[in-house]
C-alpha cells in the first residue's frame, strides 16, 4: 500500500475528475467520486508495478471507456447529442481542451532526445489527443451557435476542423490496427485541423462572429504548425533537451482555447439575461 500518492497519480486523477464533468449531472453527482476513487486505485496499482509508464497505459483503455460510457449514459437519459446540448457545453469543452493543451506542452521540456518520450513526459504528450478531441467537439457547438455570422467559408473551415480533429484523434486509438496508415491519418488529421482553425480564425477576424477574442482562433490554429515547422528546421528531425519555444507556443495555444471557451460561455450567460 502506497502511503502517499505519487505526483503522476495525482495529476492523472485530477485530469480524470475534470473529464467526469462531461457525464450527465445526476450521474456525475452520484457516481463521479466513486469513479475517481476507483481510477486512483488503478493508477496506484499500475504505478507500483510499472512506475509512471504504468500510469500512462491506464489512460489508453480509460479514454475508450469514457467515450463509450458517455454515449451510453446520454442515450439512456434520452438526451441525444443535439445541437442545444453541444452549444451548452461549448465553453467548458474548449476550456477543458485548452487545459489539456497546457499540460501536454510539458512534454516539450523533456531532457534528452525527443525521438521517444518517456515517463511523465510521455503522459503529458498523450494529452495532445484529448486536447484535440475536446477542442474539436467544443467547436461543434460553436458552429451551431455562430454559423449565421460565420458565412460559407467560416462554416466550411469549422466543419473541416471538427471532422479532421475527431478523425485524427480517433486514428490515434486505432493505430495499432492500422499500422503506418493510422499514423498517416493521425498526422493528416491534426495538420488539417489546425490549418482549418486558422482559416476559421481569418473569418472571425473579418466577421467579428465571436463575442470576444476574434483573433484567438487564428492564434490557436497557426501556432502548432509553426511550432512543428520551427522544431523541424532547428533540430533537423530529432529535438534534444527542453524545447522552450515549442513549450511556450503550446502554452499560448492552450490559454487561447481556454480564453475562447470562457468568452463563449460568458456570451451564453449574457444571452440568457437579455430581454426577449
Amino acid at each position: 500500500m502506497i502511503a502517499k500518492n505519487p505526483t503522476v497519480v495525482n495529476l492523472s486523477v485530477g485530469l480524470y475528475r475534470l473529464l467526469l464533468w462531461l457525464y450527465p449531472e445526476a450521474y456525475r453527482l452520484e457516481y463521479g467520486p466513486l469513479m475517481a476513487q476507483v481510477f486512483r486505485d488503478q493508477c496506484r496499482a499500475a504505478y507500483q508495478k510499472q512506475g509512471a509508464w504504468g500510469v500512462l497505459w491506464v489512460w489508453y483503455p480509460l479514454m475508450v471507456d469514457l467515450a463509450v460510457t458517455l454515449a451510453e449514459e446520454y442515450r439512456r437519459e434520452g438526451i441525444r447529442m443535439s445541437k442545444d446540448v453541444l452549444v451548452r457545453y461549448t465553453g467548458p469543452l474548449l476550456m477543458l481542451g485548452g487545459l489539456s493543451w497546457v499540460f501536454a506542452s510539458l512534454s516539450q521540456l523533456q531532457p534528452g532526445s525527443h525521438y521517444n518520450f518517456w515517463g511523465i513526459y510521455m503522459l503529458s504528450f498523450m494529452l495532445f489527443i484529448p486536447a484535440l478531441i475536446l477542442c474539436s467537439v467544443g467547436l461543434i457547438g460553436a458552429r451551431g451557435r455562430y454559423s449565421v455570422r460565420l458565412g460559407r467559408v467560416g462554416n466550411f473551415a469549422l466543419t473541416l476542423a471538427i471532422t479532421a480533429g475527431i478523425i485524427g484523434g480517433a486514428a490515434f486509438f486505432i493505430m495499432p490496427f492500422l499500422g503506418e496508415a493510422g499514423w498517416g491519418v493521425f498526422m493528416l488529421g491534426i495538420i488539417v485541423h489546425f490549418l482549418s482553425v486558422a482559416v476559421f480564425g481569418l473569418t472571425t477576424l473579418r466577421s467579428r462572429a465571436l463575442p470576444a477574442g476574434n483573433w484567438l482562433p487564428i492564434v490557436t490554429g497557426i501556432l502548432p504548425p509553426l511550432s512543428f515547422a520551427f522544431s523541424l528546421a532547428t533540430n533537423e528531425g530529432d529535438a534534444f533537451g527542453p524545447q522552450w519555444p515549442a513549450f511556450a507556443m503550446m502554452v499560448v495555444v492552450g490559454i487561447g482555447w481556454m480564453a475562447l471557451g470562457y468568452g463563449i460561455q460568458s456570451d451564453k450567460r449574457q444571452e440568457h439575461t437579455a430581454p426577449a
Binding site: M1, L34, Q37, V38, D41, P61, D65, T69, L70, E73
Partner: protein, 120 residues
C-alpha cells in the same frame, strides 16, 4: 418491487459486464475496485472494466434489484478512505444462477460437438 414481478429468465442473456460483476459478488460483498480486480482475476485478465463501465452497470443493477448497497467503510488493504460496498440480492443470486445454467447448457452443446474437451 420490480424484482418480484420479473422472472430471472426475463433478464437473460446478461451482458458480460453484468454477469462478471454478479459473479464477483457471489462470494461476498465488495467495493468498486475490489469488484474490478475480481472480474480481472476470474476472467483471466480478458475482461477489464473502466470506471465508467463498472459504475454504469452498477447503477442499472441497483435499479433492477440485482445488487444492493451494503455500507461504506475503509478497506485496510488500500487506504483509510471510505468505500461503498455492494452485495448480491436474493434476486441477483437467482439471475446469476440462471445465467450460469444457460451458459453451462451452451458449453454442454459445444462439448457434444467436440468443440471443447471432455465427453459429450
Amino acid at each position: 418491487m420490480a424484482e418480484t414481478q420479473t422472472s430471472p429468465d426475463d433478464l437473460l442473456p446478461l451482458t458480460p459486464a453484468v454477469f462478471h460483476i454478479l459473479l464477483a459478488l457471489a462470494d461476498g460483498e465488495k467495493h468498486g475496485y475490489a469488484i474490478m480486480q475480481e472480474v480481472e482475476n476470474i476472467s483471466n485478465r480478458q475482461v477489464r472494466m473502466g470506471p465508467g463501465t463498472l459504475y454504469g452497470s452498477i447503477k442499472r443493477m441497483l435499479a433492477g434489484g440485482l445488487i444492493a448497497e451494503s455500507d461504506e467503510r475503509p478497506d485496510p488493504d488500500l487506504d483509510d478512505e471510505r468505500r461503498r460496498y455492494y452485495r448480491l440480492t436474493e434476486f441477483g443470486e437467482r439471475v446469476v444462477s440462471a445465467e450460469a445454467h444457460r451458459l453451462a447448457a451452451l458449453v454442454s452443446v459445444a462439448r457434444s460437438k467436440r468443440l471443447v474437451g471432455g465427453t459429450g
